[in-house]
Symmetry: C3
Subunit: 387 residues, 3 copies
Amino acid sequence: MFILYGIGALLLRLGMAIHAAGMVRSKNSSSILIRSIADLCLTTLAFWAIGGAILFSPPKLFDPHLLFSVGSAFFVVCVALIASGIVTGVASERSKFFPMCAVSILIGALLLPIAGRWQVGWLRHLGYIDAGGASMIHLTGGLCAAVAAILIGPRNGKYNRDGSSNGIPGHSVPLASIGALLMFIGFIPTVLGMSSGTIRDDFLESPGNILLAAAAGGAASLLLCYFRYGKPDVHLIIVGFLGALVAISVSPNTLNIWAVFIGAVAGIIVPLSAIHIDLTWKIDDPTSGIAIHAVSAIWGIIAAGALASGSFLDRLKQLGIQLLGLGAIAALTIILSGALFFILKATVGLRAREADEFDGLDLAEHDIGAYPDFQQTTIKSYHLREA
Amino acid sequence: MFILYGIGALLLRLGMAIHAAGMVRSKNSSSILIRSIADLCLTTLAFWAIGGAILFSPPKLFDPHLLFSVGSAFFVVCVALIASGIVTGVASERSKFFPMCAVSILIGALLLPIAGRWQVGWLRHLGYIDAGGASMIHLTGGLCAAVAAILIGPRNGKYNRDGSSNGIPGHSVPLASIGALLMFIGFIPTVLGMSSGTIRDDFLESPGNILLAAAAGGAASLLLCYFRYGKPDVHLIIVGFLGALVAISVSPNTLNIWAVFIGAVAGIIVPLSAIHIDLTWKIDDPTSGIAIHAVSAIWGIIAAGALASGSFLDRLKQLGIQLLGLGAIAALTIILSGALFFILKATVGLRAREADEFDGLDLAEHDIGAYPDFQQTTIKSYHLREA
Amino acid sequence: MFILYGIGALLLRLGMAIHAAGMVRSKNSSSILIRSIADLCLTTLAFWAIGGAILFSPPKLFDPHLLFSVGSAFFVVCVALIASGIVTGVASERSKFFPMCAVSILIGALLLPIAGRWQVGWLRHLGYIDAGGASMIHLTGGLCAAVAAILIGPRNGKYNRDGSSNGIPGHSVPLASIGALLMFIGFIPTVLGMSSGTIRDDFLESPGNILLAAAAGGAASLLLCYFRYGKPDVHLIIVGFLGALVAISVSPNTLNIWAVFIGAVAGIIVPLSAIHIDLTWKIDDPTSGIAIHAVSAIWGIIAAGALASGSFLDRLKQLGIQLLGLGAIAALTIILSGALFFILKATVGLRAREADEFDGLDLAEHDIGAYPDFQQTTIKSYHLREA
């Protein structure tokens, strides 16, 4: 069955690449896909070279015999690709190709293995609930992406002098939507694969719950759009739909009604936080990956504690454990990725040259045009730099 | 294995969404995909809230304890999404977003559960043959879509005053073809999942038969195109290819030679009926979903009776049972969906405003352009209303 | 599990179709997809009618009772589609539709069954190593495609009078990349399915090795591009990435470190040979299918012999067996496909009319435009014939 789960995780990763490709402008759409392939290669090699030795060495601190040996860790590698894929999307359209390769190596070699080790180690002993591994996949990936987005800075033309934000539409809504649907399909086997080691009872409930939570998330964001903006906004609904999937992955074996609750709340807060991250915090995130992955993971981890079985005191204690685990993995991610991006920024630089960003990374970095047979529009407002 | 079957059904559903997105004009291509996501959410929630209680309550007429509880019905929900997805495609480019949401709820809450209940109930006792559930998936979905298409009316510019029909080309043949191929891939696990409960012997024959029937369907429509139109028409071949898949899903465990026969006949009659529905009946169906799903299901159900084992009288009896089941489920579908669409049409209205249809539903309903980076053509003949 | 493996092989085939569709110009992109569907249908029917009787008749030379009976050969048919799909891509943009249908029939009825029969017959007795069936899938398909490309000749405008080669960019880099990623995902179950009959030990190593080899191939071609061309070229990286997958499929149960080695070498030699085939041999291959499939298979087969366990003499002997098998299957492929293409060329002709090639096969052969809603560019240099 791990073959099926792993293939599901790869379909989820492919969905992320397709979604991100649709969310960027056509002049950067080859770039996002070749980066996805490079990220896939480097994360896999980094996990094989070093990461596996960190993840599988307990009780020892580090077992050098396990270097360069993934062994049967196929599924773990597939899952690691999801975390690193988040960064590819969020940092797109303005970052340099080669420095971003270092992120794949960091995630495959250190970040995911340490987070995974904690999760099956001291966090599990404390009773930390995270069946689908949202902490080690989505929280790490989402926060690493947030650090990247902050240190790289927003795309040219994204924020105006008066602080207002411009929407920069992706070049293909169909691609973005198809990618989101493929992510949804891939989520189900991925979460089952992650939770198959930890969940004994109610395993059969999980697939239904994942469906239900996604449905509740999509429906809630549909209602949010209707009441707040009058029109069902494609991207906000997708953000709510995918956010619910991340949130339910923490506790897929919950009761049906809680799955709907977790999904529906995610369908409200994740789109709102995507807007908040853009408009208030001014973090430029072309794929809304920070909200979809990090915010949803935080919500899912908190909800799993708050909805745990037992008395009110038990729940409070569980909530404390959840917050502890959340804080520990978040701190780990921010420190490691902050250090990496800081060093990269100070040395080789993270940001593409302004002219390259203007031309598009496809042409500047890969000497290719994504759609040579089609006439492109030039939406001036996005390209014009302020004088 | 039900995880694999369910994922297969979701891939089939994704293929339907991609196919439909390619078959509509670019100004409606975001609309079709966001409707697919909304449909997915609402059908799932409706089945969970009410549908499951209807489907799983026998021998009781209705078991209120089963409300809001899908339990392990993951695969059934995935299959329900296929039925409701048919309507999304057929009613595209001219229907309003919110009224069409009611269809998803009808299918998830009532139509599919009742049809499914009949199929595992009194129809199975009579000996009704429908291993892959074509009656409850494709017949219901296809006929519901036909009712929708008739009551909504054709797209502006589709039919001329003299009764002739204009072809309105979809905006992306590659998307449509890729969607069709993904539907084909998803069909195999879906049919196996549906038939795994009913077929004991020859189960291993089924995957090969599904392939064979699809191949025969595609080859037959290729020959049809060659002899009738001189050129292999992309969409007619796809219609024949997919129609054969629906037809064989009724009896995937038949003999190889009958699978080829069922597929080949479907490859002839389904494209011809798609043309007939358009030119003679003047039902506007952008995705040919009525022919692909309803006509093929009818052919498959009849063929399964006619090719049943036993004497001529046995076959005649079986054919009678097939026609009875077919009629019952068709009547159920037409009555339920007719009532719903009639009420919707009389109250909120089903049809988008003419100006919105002209602008495209992407812009009118979702405030988005599917392909902002590309220059669009305006094929005047499709947009010009007759004076 | 064979359902999963077969679906994986079909996803790989779909990935090939998507990749090829992206690599051709938009005026031929419908053509490539409808040919993929036709190829799928005809290969399946040919295998059912004749191929299965050849493949499954041992010890008899040919068992007429097995004609028209695939039985449970679902997975084998799925795999045969991969071989025939290679030719569809390589011969695209300039070949006629109907003559190319004969290739599908040749591969399904004769080429793949005979190669497969040899592989499980005398080659296996000799100790020939090819767990993933690269000889019968990729070597046959790739060499058949090479014969086709040579006999059909290059596309108009591909080679200049002075012998230099023009790059003819595909119409959608995103489609090509998405197809490549889907091929990668499909490779894993396909190789597992093929090798599940032959590999007993270390079966669990295989999925991880396939990932590792692909990662090494992608990373190696990334470095190659960086050092040789200064920029990471999208298509060369994809060629290296996919080539590594084909190469590792010969011996997926090797040691981790050898998987990385096989992949990394494939990541260097496959892109270089793709360039060599284009620039030096002047074989026009829009999808680089000859390098990806044939060259990689040859490398993988040789590497499996050279890296076999045992003394130096044992390895030398194994290498001899590998070269014998390689030569036998290559000779079979070249003779059979050479004869077919020669007859076709001498009778109905293989090559589309010059005017049809100029207009694009979509319009000329299928009366359809792939993207009617988008304004196309006309890159004159590709269309202008030399005076």
